[in-house]
Amino acid sequence: MKKKVKYVIAGTAAAAVTAALIAVWVMITQTKVSNAVARVYQNGTLLQTIDLEAVQESYTFTIEGSNGAYNTVLVEPGQISVTEASCPDKVCISQGKISDGVLPITCLPNGIVIQIETGNTANSALDGMTR
């Protein structure tokens, strides 16, 4: 009987150690998942979904709006930006290159939003930016 209790205690301890190892492994593999996916919207409609981690070579594309409005988007490995725009204030261009989900690129006059969703935002030092 005593021997059985010992086995149970030893078994439980071993199970706990194994569990801790599994937990550490799960956490490490989870935090490694950080695929930055950019979603490009025009007036609320999703135009494109771009996996920025999969981008090998930089390229540009143009989003056309009404009355000749346009925004030229530069897609690079791991980051995205607007390089040219027809809007008067060019806020979208001055937002520069984004690579995380903290602050989306927006062009209000042309109704464009470029938002990055990362697999794991827990590592980002910031939860938001005021402006």
Partner: protein, 341 residues
């Protein structure tokens, strides 16, 4: 043999349960999250929520914002405010409870800031049309006839009949400095009261409001954008159950003949405020208050603004001057701010 298999089975089951406990505890909130970004209220909004009802909450929050846009927008011709602006000088105009509340509170902030904020610049704002493709520099002859000294004193409210009356034909209500804050507060109220959300962050065009602490119990890290490089921050504040609102000259503006014209108008001149500040961030519990104060303190200029905020309870601020000096009020010495609500 069967006994041994039983032991192994029990061991594996125990290990599985324990590993769930190790990974799940404290992370359960984080594992159930929902987030969406949309253009609403003429700005970009991101709602990120944690917990069982996160997805429902995100949908409800955007629904609330859209509902309020149809009441409070000064530009949308379909909105209640737009309609009221067309008739309130001609006759007493009955309004919804929401519009009445926002008007009453906005006028109160105008009085409290001694006119640094004036929510009756609707006609002048329409001339500038900041943030639209029609943005332009109006001629002095267009602005001068529309300047009304303390225009907010020319709005008459009747609580009993819930009506609004303008006493001057040159004023129109524009809640550009309060509506987003009010909406952020309302979105938070719906989420906490109706959906039991205890953890989340709403970013309504740079107006940030947080619900509780982060999923890991830590405060939310909020960066104050560098006016010269929008991908960088000049300061990070750690807030819990509170709001942070910035007014800056770099958000809605245009440059003409080397001069930067931005959307924060000085009610005395009708032109962009130019009192030495380029960015003001206000931290408070209430987002409508923070929204109003970020605009008002921008117009006041540094010295007046610091004195004004220091005299208030549970409100702090960060100012960036033209020469890029960052000034924080005394309560932000440790860069933390906690709401009590």
């Amino acid at each position: 043999m069967a006994k041994r298999m039983g032991y192994i089975g029990a061991f594996l089951a125990l290990a599985a349960v324990c590993s769930l406990w190790f990974t799940g505890c404290g992370r359960s909130l984080q594992s159930q999250s929902a987030s969406r970004t949309e253009l609403v209220m003429s700005t970009v909004a991101t709602v990120t929520l944690y917990g069982e009802r996160a997805q429902e909450g995100v949908d409800a929050a955007f629904e609330k914002a859209k509902e309020l846009e149809m009441i409070l927008s000064a530009q949308n011709e379909e909105s209640e405010l737009y309609q009221v602006n067309q008739t309130a000088y001609e006759r007493e105009t009955e309004v919804s409870e929401t519009l009445f509340t926002v008007t009453r509170r906005s006028l109160q902030y105008c009085r409290e800031t001694d006119g640094a904020l004036d929510c009756t610049l609707g006609k002048i704002n329409a001339l500038w049309a900041f943030g639209t493709e029609n943005a332009r520099l109006p001629a002095q002859e267009e602005i001068t006839p529309l300047l009304v000294d303390r225009g907010y004193e020319q709005v008459q409210l009747n609580e009993e009949t819930r009506t609004i009356r303008f006493l001057n034909p040159n004023i129109q209500l524009d809640f550009g400095a309060t509506a987003k804050g009010f909406a952020a507060d309302e979105m938070k109220r719906v989420l906490t009261e109706e959906y039991g959300i205890t953890c989340g962050i709403i970013n309504l065009g740079g107006n940030i409001i947080t619900i509780g602490a982060k999923y890991d119990g830590q405060p939310w890290g909020i960066g104050v954008t560098d006016p010269d490089d929008h991908t960088r921050v000049v300061s990070t504040e750690y807030i819990t159950n509170a709001t942070a609102v910035t007014s800056g000259n770099y958000e809605r503006y245009f440059i003409q003949d080397g001069v930067r014209y931005h959307h924060i108008l000085d009610p005395k001149t009708g032109y962009s405020a130019n009192n030495g500040l380029i960015s003001t961030t206000v931290l408070a519990e209430n987002s409508m208050l923070a929204d109003a104060l970020s605009t008002a303190t921008y117009v006041m200029g540094l010295d007046k603004a610091v004195a004004y905020i220091e005299a208030m309870e549970n409100v702090e601020a960060i100012f960036i001057t033209e020469d890029r000096t960052v000034v924080k009020t005394a309560g932000l010495a440790d860069d933390t701010f906690e709401g009590t609500a």
